[in-house]
């Protein structure tokens, strides 16, 4: 194995920011139950409140609109399942389904925590409407509006796709939804810390965030619920989070999340600019040195850190593992990287052929990457692709 490590998989997860790590260590003894009235409980609650305020600032929300969860998958599940919930007795919540609205519109390029949940709600009386996307990965706004009916309860669209990085126009989507009295949720996990998020400007009802994508630990997430937007808890129990999410608060996770949000906000502008330059260098270098590739997704409306490329005639898992032997960590949309036979649903939704989807590699950059990392990748990658193509049955015709 290589001595040099170049981590280019920040969309999968991020390491903990050194400042966040410091904050965790400093607060390691904050053990009190924030719900307790005694001193140690109150000390913990004070820290929780500070963190809540930092997270709120990151997305321009009010503190009371932030609910801490165990991660974005929980946040996404909470919103989708609540919307079609059909309680047996009057629980006092204004469920959409009770008002005859049981349809949820989403896109074909959502995260699995939306897609699988949509499959689940089918059995719960909900009706999922999954929209295809344009070849550049953008939602067709006319198509979206055409699919809204008097039964549409919610539109849930990913703010920036984790595989290709394409940024959707959530503000316009929300304004279309509002015209029809439809609620809006966005999964902003990949967007957070990379592009500006302003929930007031976007006018969304719900928004999900994850800690481990912004240099906080795993196991902590956020659900933003706009004041006065309908809501029902997913996890029932104690009255933590103003009765909106039961379970003793995750002190250290929340404190870390607060610090990570604070850093994301203060570092975003300079970091995004720096990382975008590195990503552009990587993209230009690949385009220049490797023939027969496809750069996937709209390159104008894209996260500064993400690059998705398909290499014709080369299988993704093979590329990934040869890169891994050189110490370079990336992801692939190849089926062979998963248990299923299907390659990336996102790339197929863009209309890519299965061959190109199987041969896709996602490079996602982050705060530890330097220019020498990119030089190193550009030095190793061309010969790896050439080696794979030399033994490929799928590349022989393109000599």
């Amino acid at each position: 194995m290589s001595e040099k490590i170049v981590y280019l998989d920040y969309n999968a997860t991020t390491p903990i920011h050194p400042e966040v790590k410091k904050t965790i260590i400093e607060n390691f003894d904050i053990f009190g139950n924030p719900s307790s009235l005694h001193t140690s409980g109150r000390i913990a609650m004070e820290k929780i409140n500070e963190a809540r305020s930092s997270v709120a600032k990151l997305i321009n929300a009010d503190s009371e609109e932030i609910i801490f969860t165990a991660g974005a998958s929980e946040s996404n599940n909470t919103v989708l399942k609540y919307v079609v919930c059909q309680p047996q007795s009057d629980c006092g919540e204004a469920c959409r389904a009770c008002a005859g609205r049981n349809e949820i519109i989403t896109s074909a390029i959502e995260h699995p925590s939306i897609i699988s949940t949509m499959d689940f709600i089918k059995g719960q009386g909900g009706k999922p409407v999954v929209l295809g996307v344009k070849p550049n990965g953008k939602i067709d706004l006319d198509l979206l509006e055409k699919n809204i009916t008097h039964k549409t309860a919610l539109i849930s669209i990913i703010m920036a796709n984790n595989e290709i990085g394409v940024i959707e126009d959530i503000k316009t989507i929300a304004s279309i939804a509002k015209k029809h009295g439809v609620l809006v949720h966005t999964d902003a996990v990949s967007a957070a810390g990379r592009i500006k998020i302003d929930v007031k400007d976007l006018n969304v009802d719900y928004l999900s965030l994850s800690g481990h994508k912004i240099y906080a630990p795993k196991g902590i997430g956020i659900l933003y619920v706009k004041k006065d937007s309908p809501y029902c808890p997913f996890i029932h129990g104690g009255h933590q989070e103003a009765g909106r999410r039961a379970g003793t608060l995750n002190n250290l996770g929340i404190i870390a999340m607060g610090k990570a949000a604070e850093l994301a906000l203060s570092e975003m502008e300079t970091e995004s600019k720096r990382i975008k330059a590195l990503r552009d260098k990587l993209r230009d270098g690949i385009v220049k040195t490797i023939p027969d590739i496809s750069v996937n997704g709209d390159q104008g409306d894209i996260l500064p850190n993400t690059l998705n490329v398909s290499f014709m005639g080369a299988e993704g898992e093979t590329i990934l593992l040869y890169l891994d032997m050189e110490g370079i960590a990336v992801s692939t949309g190849s089926a062979c990287s998963s248990d299923s036979l299907e390659p990336s649903h996102v790339l197929l939704a863009l209309g890519l052929s299965p061959e190109l989807a199987h041969g896709s590699i996602r490079f996602s950059l982050g705060r530890d990457n330097t220019e020498s990392d990119i030089d190193y990748v550009l030095e190793k990658l061309p010969s790896i692709i050439a080696k794979i193509r030399k033994m490929s049955t799928a590349y022989r015709s393109k000599k």
Binding site: G313, E315, E317, L341, P343, S353, K390, M391, T393
Partner: protein
């Protein structure tokens, strides 16, 4: 930096330096040629052989496939040289996996690709030389012993466009009694989908 690799050292060695890769098919005067799998399923395998005195004298290959497919075909191309056609024809994917020091469960189906392509190459040799009588219909192996469903049944199901286990169970009643065969049936289904999907 090490970190536990997904695969055994032997797989890694053959993946890193694959043996007997076919450089230019046009320049290779094969006695038998077999191609299986499809690119849309994520893997395809081509195996070519030279035969001398009823033995495999050379075996080369190309693949569009993952690390398991590359490593298993690489090691197979070494194993079969010197074998009689009959021995090579009866080579079992399990033998290849054993030589490799094992493969992760969900990767075993990738290793059958090389073996299938080799069989196809040998059958091609038999056909070219008027030895069709040597071609054996593959023996069916019982997978579900309660309902007597074989691997051939599963293969035919996939060949006819069948996809999921539920559908297979409806059609063949496989695994509807004790259910012990479900895991194996799933793996076979997965593998055949790779070959015929």
């Amino acid at each position: 930096m090490s970190g536990n690799w997904l695969y055994s050292e032997k797989v890694k060695e053959h993946f890193k330096n694959p043996k007997n890769i076919l450089d230019d098919e046009d320049k290779y005067d094969s006695d038998g040629r077999g191609e299986v799998g499809s690119i849309s399923c994520g893997d395809q395998m081509l195996v070519v052989i030279k035969v001398k005195d009823n033995k495999i004298a050379d075996c080369q290959w190309k693949t569009y496939g993952c690390a398991s497919a590359i490593a298993s075909t690489s090691i197979m191309s070494e194993m079969v040289v010197g074998m009689t056609l009959k021995e090579a024809y009866r080579l079992n994917p399990d033998d290849i996996v054993r030589q490799l020091g094992g493969l992760p469960d969900h990767k075993v189906h990738c290793s059958i690709l090389g073996d299938r392509a080799l069989r196809a190459a040998i059958e091609d040799y038999y056909r070219r030389n008027g030895l069709e009588s040597e071609i054996e219909p593959e023996e069916a192996k019982v997978v579900c012993s309660c309902m007597n469903v074989t691997d051939k049944d599963i293969e035919n199901f996939v060949k006819a466009g069948g996809k999921d286990l539920e559908e297979l169970q409806k059609k063949t009643t496989l695994g509807t009694v004790c259910g012990n065969c479900i895991k194996e049936a799933k793996e076979l289904l997965h593998g055949y989908k790779h070959l015929y999907g």
